[in-house]
Symmetry: C2
Subunit: 324 residues, 2 copies
């Protein structure tokens, strides 16, 4: 069998936007391969120019359609767009594609668009780290925009959307009560609110309700200087996308030029550091303790020890005081 | 100001099912208080008799209504029921209550029912640990059934439902495509499938679709000996709940009496151990590294180091080899 190509030799090809090389590096990062760490570090060092946009919303809010249309509009101005889909309902992750078939095929055949779907199951918590490493690959390769699409339900999923420069929360008319309750929980993370499907007759009520909620104090995020605008869009007739792109660019400028923006970038770095540390710790931990694990978990299952005692035994030997 | 009551002195009251004492211990556990650890360990040692049931489903599947009706039916046989709601759309967590108002008030005023809603935001990953400690409190206090209700979207949320003896996945007729795609992802974790709202005319199609999916191989979970039944229910007319309770009891017996069941209990213990260890590590980590944190994250934000280098610096001094 042929030797697998080293990550270091994939690096220049990935930087030249070779799709296969980019995809392979993303897969290795996702699998927590240590072989690719040097290459990923180099990509990270070269990255930092892309505008990273988190787009989230409850199921049924039309965020995948929004992502498709937004990408087409951004492409019209010649900018390259990467899409990282962390969403089981996304058409890019194998979800419903009926309404999006035409748009999607346009995107899939466009050299200036790269779409990556991240596993959301079985990823043992490494989902955030791997998704943001995929962003690095696209950023370093010179993609001007990287969109992270996540479903707006689930602690881990919402956290990933927040690790973007600009967070867009998508609302839509005509969703059920259960969904509305979930939606209320994510409105506060929005830098930009989009109300999709605004060609529908009941969209005005959704826009009005949202604006009411925002004037009730939610827009006054402390340390801000940024008021989250409400942008109605329609993927059916293209309405609102010019304004959305203008708001995105304005927020991108805000992030680059203000103290609050610099704090945001630093908070994202802190999040990445912690997620990477957790991951690394978890891997080492499982490797070092494989034999102890079965024994301790058996004692725990028999209730001879408590969960904290079991955890302490596993951590026994871990010294978190600074050694130097 | 009066001295706060110690967890050790709350313990006998919690064991005697005093609602206030149980709630206070749960709050302290949720806040990662080390003061309550001894008391929680004693509760854990006394627990292990309750049947822990995870109920999950996509938003709109009617799982909260199912939980309400199931609880009323279980109460009719005199058994006590605890409900841990890890779901922003649950009426118990402040979500939609319109349809459930009557049932809920019956439950809330019933001494044999204890309802606890867990924070799903800002819980820094400790959600699983805290939810399962809340189960311990109810279990040790002699509640025969403890239901963990989680929304079936989100990695962390689905993981918690799986930490139950019996997992019930709720499907419903008439959900949108986006929701259906998410649903497909959680079907495989079910010990029992419920199709709710089976009084609706389109329910038969949902039941048929589900059975087709299951015969396409999904029910053949390896190492099983348990075939997940499909139970149609209607909270409107009470249909199916007798069968659901019979299936729950049959699965509870299966867990207690088979090798596969014992393995399941051990896997749950392992999950708890790891989640508790992660939590503990995270706490110590942040405490020990607070001063280093700002410095390293600033270097990371400026791309002078990579996320792995930042993580390594934070973990520097952590020794995971066994010392004794």
């Amino acid at each position: 069998m042929a030797q697998p190509v080293s990550s270091d030799s994939l690096l220049p090809r990935a930087l030249a936007s070779d799709n296969a090389a980019m995809a392979r590096l993303m897969s290795r990062a996702e699998a927590s391969s240590s072989e690719c760490r040097q290459a990923m570090a180099q990509l990270y060092a070269k990255a930092g120019r892309a505008h990273v946009i988190g787009i989230t919303g409850v199921p049924g809010s039309g965020k995948s359609t929004l992502v498709s249309t937004l990408t087409l509009k951004l492409r019209a101005s010649g900018k390259r767009v990467g899409i990282i889909a962390v969403d089981p309902s996304s058409p890019y992750s194998g979800g419903s594609i009926m309404g999006d078939r035409i748009r999607m095929s346009e995107l899939v055949n466009d050299e200036g668009v790269f779409i990556r779907s991240m596993a959301t199951r079985g990823a043992q918590g490494g989902m955030a780290r791997a998704s943001l490493e995929a962003v690095d690959v696209l950023d370093a390769a010179g993609f001007e925009y990287v969109i992270i699409e996540t479903v707006g339900v689930g602690q881990a999923e919402v956290e990933i959307a927040r690790a973007a420069h600009t967070v867009v929360v998508v609302s839509a008319p005509g969703l059920g009560d259960d969904i509305q309750a979930i939606k209320a929980g994510i409105l506060e993370i929005a830098d930009i609110h989009v109300v999709s499907k605004c060609d529908r007759s009941d969209a005005n009520r959704t826009i009005g309700d949202l604006k009411n909620m925002l004037t009730m104090g939610m827009s006054l995020v402390p340390g801000g200087g940024w008021n989250a605008p409400v942008v109605p869009t329609s993927s059916a007739n293209g309405e609102g996308f010019e304004k959305l792109i203008e708001c995105l660019d304005r927020h991108g400028h805000y992030i680059r030029t203000t103290d609050a923006g610099r704090q945001r970038v630093r908070r994202i770095a802190e999040f990445r550091m912690l997620k990477t540390a957790e991951d690394l710790l978890h891997q080492r931990f499982l490797a070092a303790r494989q034999s102890t694990l079965a024994n301790v978990s058996e004692q725990l299952a028999q209730r001879l020890i408590s969960p904290y005692q079991a955890a302490e035994r596993l951590l026994d030997g871990v010294n978190l005081e600074k050694t130097s």
